[in-house]
Symmetry: D3
Subunit: 131 residues, 6 copies
């Protein structure tokens, strides 16, 4: 179980409920996933994290699907089981097809490989790449 437990809506303070309500309204679903219920232990962290996630993941110069896939890329690199599962679900909901997922994984694997080849071979940054 999560370290300080999961806070269900019914047991939540007004401050936490306000965040839960906003998650539900923004995502158009009643479902609150465990991540938020665990963070509710620290209402200030919950509020700050949710507001950042809402701002960062909103459409902008990049569309939400691209952002979800970047999230999966980082989570797979860090091998965070929870975030891989939840953001793969999120990316699918935002429109990721099986083909897109496959290409995403191929890039993530490749990048992790070449990152180590570049550092292992001690490759110096080309002058051209120094901005």
């Amino acid at each position: 179980m999560a370290t300080c437990g999961l806070t269900e809506y019914e047991a939540a303070s007004a401050e936490v409920r306000a965040v839960y309500d906003d998650i539900r309204a923004t995502r158009r679903t009643d479902f609150i996933n465990n991540f938020w219920k665990a963070l509710a232990h620290d209402p200030a962290l919950l509020k700050r994290t949710w507001e950042s996630v809402k701002a960062v993941m909103a459409p902008g110069a990049l569309d939400p699907l691209v952002k979800e896939m970047i999230y999966v890329a980082v989570s797979a690199t860090n091998q965070c089981g929870y975030c891989i599962a939840s953001h793969t679900a999120g990316a699918r909901k935002a429109g990721m097809s099986d083909e897109m997922f496959a290409e995403l994984m191929a890039v993530v694997g490749m990048a992790n490989e070449t990152n180590r080849l570049a550092s292992g071979y001690q490759v110096e940054i080309d002058e051209r790449f120094k901005t």
Copy 2:
């Protein structure tokens, strides 16, 4: 300097030159960056890595710009200086604007934060996310 040196075109074997030629043709530039010159120490690795990169980064279900940004996301997460520099340059060439870069970084930072919150709080994966 790179561990086993950098192989310039003039000093390269026919096998290595063939890869360099393909890099130049594919990327429509004479420039070969240090990463490839370092891998040329191992012609089989050079060939395999280039062919994989060429296949993986080609347009498909995801467009090349999205792929370059995913590459940057992984490289920033791994803190690989060479790959951040070279793929940021690559992403710009593929059309990444300053606004897109800024949003990319915001997602990468956020994902790295929540990855640790999820694991630190020992959050269990919701049933709904188990496929």
Copy 3:
């Protein structure tokens, strides 16, 4: 199960028992957690690791609770499930309140985020920070 099994006290060699006895005496408990039972496969590693942990985690310029929280910070960053669980328990035993845990997590999340922003934006170290 652990790769080379878990060594219980009854089945342990004199060398391993001596370490188990010291763990019990130092921690004032009969409980030996699985980590030590797994390392017992390599008595030299068990002894060296335990002696280092005992020396490093003892009170000094930093108090044991701060050290336990630093341990949790590193383990959450590395996403090591075992160490997050065992050192969160250890930190609680050393006096970590729910409020302290919450602040610890907030710092860990924030540091992981800004680490990637610093590297992703390729920020150069300020002269003032070069010692």
Copy 4:
């Protein structure tokens, strides 16, 4: 140089200046380090990150020095050169002695070692540690 350059106070928008002013007032110094000047490329990220850092690093259940040391622990684990340098300076300013730094490093090294021993030996979490 930072990917999108560094924004000096004189060249900054009113929005960015307001953050710089708050950094200066909060830290009681005129010095703005490169990290913030780089983030200024994205004023929304700058503002959100600074406000989070200010909230998270303020005194609470943990004192600011402990928080700075946790920041260094995470940054050393991630091997982020910029953050190691800047937060080591920050920790010193908050009162970290050479002895405290030495103990901090000893814990960080030890935790990184045992994280891998725990995962490499595939140690299962003890029932007692499951909350």
Copy 5:
């Protein structure tokens, strides 16, 4: 379950079957582990990854057992549960004794510790080590 499911031999396309057949022939076993069945979702990735693994893990200047142990070292460092389990099994099959595994883990733990001490203490590379 794996994100896009596991493809069994009977349900596989001719392209996937050809890879499975080669895995079986190369490894002299009928067993196909889940990793390949998951990658089969993307036949091009499956083929490229298998061919690379086959080439990289074949005997050469390093013998296959050493290569399997290096694989375990990387996987323990990244804390990838699947790869630790599968390559520990692979290394045993290639001849790794309990004593060898114990020494492998000791080196992996030590390297992860000193990596952080080197970066945390901000140690400069000795001139002698610059090739």
Copy 6:
């Protein structure tokens, strides 16, 4: 410069000199690299780390060259510039040829790639690999 400076032999305490003398005798060289001079800030850490390194890197079930290569594999995975440089030099001294280095890098790159594919595809550990 290293955070707490480098301690040269002439300025070192008797305790530190004893470790330096043992490093020189064990390695049959007068050269003390910066890592040890930085750790000398904390004589207890210096002594403990050196004694562990000496024990772990000595010939045993694995030969010293294999151990050096495992060290490089971990350091490249963690992208620790100092340790990559010093242990690549150490591995060469222990007999690593250019061909062996090339194969080492190929395995390290491959393992980092497949680690992420395994976690990204959420592959479950095969029953057969559960010991």
